[in-house]
């Protein structure tokens, strides 16, 4: 347990690991494959690797890293659309830094910027709105992406723009929602996940209620977790306890931040500004019904998709990439022939290698190239 000493409470961490081992020993009989527990949030993935938590677990329990990194699931065609908007003469294209290096079929936003497009990295959508008020002769487009954690920030920015009458601001909306995504995963035929570690900050916005169907319909446990190593170990133990008891419930380990009904002001802004799209395409996962949102008709003038004709061409990922299989937890990154060869954090082929929250980047950084878990 080489990392345990640096945890906030090493004694508690040891006790949790012991308890996990004990449950695992009791569950061992008649079990021919490990219990696969999927963490949905990219931040959890990052923390699991950083703290070497996989190395603390008995063989019978494994983390499977889910599709919870919004940058990682952005399809190439959408990046191409961004580049097309950014390359327009009148546009200032504002984006979070994370999205700059995601490869499109021709180039990334970073490359477009190097070739002269006016692409600006901003910290907040509010900064993009400020850019618009300061540059009234230009069109400022903000690249909105992310799950429910980020959705309120862009919704509130659009509401602010409407209130202040800012005419030259629009949003290229690529937000995705977690619930239809989890449902799509669960409906996959060969989905071998035994339980979930639920995302902390998405849940801070949506609460714990929306996960209920996972327990009721699919009979899988889910525990919403915080980001400390102790939080993750404790949540894993809570999932395993449910499995041992034959239970399937939604529990909240992160109640100090996550209220059961989420954040009412955030949810109100999201509901006011966005409506579900019939379907949205994910990199590696294909189209998932109801998983994306777009601006409502009432906010059409702030919708970059309506203001600028975007190419909206679907582009398939390179054939040899295993991004889809890695995203759903069906395969480990080293099963991809490009892992660490054609695809590295410096020259990413797939988005899972771009963000520190992507599982390929995490394995590359912490797990090395040996093809074994960190």
């Amino acid at each position: 347990m080489r990392f345990v000493d640096e945890f906030r409470d090493p004694a508690l961490a040891r006790a949790l690991v012991k308890e996990i081992e004990a449950i695992s020993a009791r569950l061992e009989r008649g079990r021919d494959r490990p219990f696969a527990i999927m963490e949905v949030c990219g931040g959890h993935t990052h923390a699991i690797f950083r703290y070497g938590l996989e190395g603390l677990l008995p063989d019978l329990v494994e983390f499977v890293h889910g599709p919870g990194c919004p940058v990682c699931v952005l399809p190439m065609g959408r990046v191409d659309d961004c580049v097309a908007i950014a390359e327009r003469e009148e546009v200032i294209f504002a984006t979070f830094g994370d999205a700059m290096r995601v490869p499109g079929s021709r180039k990334s936003l970073l490359q477009a910027k190097a070739e002269g497009a006016d692409v600006r990295m901003v910290y907040s959508p509010l900064d993009a709105l400020t850019l618009a008020t300061r540059n009234p002769e230009r069109e400022v487009v903000f690249f909105g992406l992310g799950f429910e954690t980020t959705m309120p920030s862009t919704a509130l920015t659009v509401l602010r723009a409407a209130r202040e009458g800012v005419e030259n601001f629009s949003l290229f909306c690529n937000h995705i929602t977690i619930i239809p995504t989890l449902r799509a995963l669960l409906e996959q035929e060969d989905f071998g996940i035994d339980g979930f570690i639920g995302p902390g900050h998405v849940s801070m916005v949506i609460g714990t209620e929306p996960y209920r169907f996972i327990a009721d319909e699919f009979k899988k446990p889910l525990v919403v977790a915080g980001f400390e190593p102790i939080d993750l170990l404790q949540s894993l133990l809570m999932v395993l306890r449910q499995i041992e008891a034959g239970d399937a419930r939604i529990e909240n380990q992160y109640a100090r931040v996550v209220p059961p009904h989420g954040n009412p002001a955030a949810l109100k802004a999201v509901a006011e500004v966005y409506e579900p799209r019939p379907t949205f395409e994910w990199r590696g996962l294909g189209s998932i019904a109801g998983s994306g949102v777009r601006l409502r008709e009432a906010f059409a003038r702030f919708d970059a998709e309506r203001r600028f004709a975007v190419p909206d061409v679907k582009v398939a990922d390179p054939a040899q990439c295993r991004c889809g299989a890695v995203l759903t937890g069906a395969e480990k990154p080293w099963a991809c022939p490009e892992f660490g060869k054609g695809c590295t954090p410096e020259t990413p082929l797939g988005a899972l290698m771009v963000s520190s929250e992507g599982s390929c980047a995490a394995y590359y950084q912490y797990g090395g190239l040996r093809g074994e878990a960190a």
Binding site: P70, Y123, D127, L131, T150, S153, N263
Partner: protein
């Protein structure tokens, strides 16, 4: 990018526009506080509170111990540095509406 970072609200920037000044590890910027403000209460009530700041929006009020623990984890996994870099490099006007001399 989804993790956010804890900061402390140090001043009200604009009551009507629902903006406060938050101090994130020594860097100050204006943040939107709609999601943490109690309906009808003055924003001055928030001064001194620790909040989780996500891309320029205070998303949740947390206690001081939680804030310290979160910062420690973010530092250890390297996210604090990334978040601070985005905040300082990508903020267009971090101090734009900070009232002078107010703490």
């Amino acid at each position: 990018m989804c993790l956010g970072i804890p900061g402390r609200i140090v001043a009200v920037a604009d009551e009507e526009a629902m903006l406060c000044v938050v101090d994130v590890s020594g860097v100050r910027r204006t943040v939107d506080v709609v999601c943490v403000a109690a309906p009808g209460a003055p924003l001055a009530d928030l001064v001194g509170a620790w909040v989780l700041v996500h891309v320029g929006f205070a998303m949740s009020v947390i206690d001081e111990e939680e804030a310290a623990a979160t910062l420690k984890v973010l530092t250890e996994i390297g996210e604090a540095a990334a978040e601070m870099e985005a905040l300082t490099a990508g903020a267009i006007a971090p101090l734009a509406s900070q009232p002078a001399g107010q703490e």
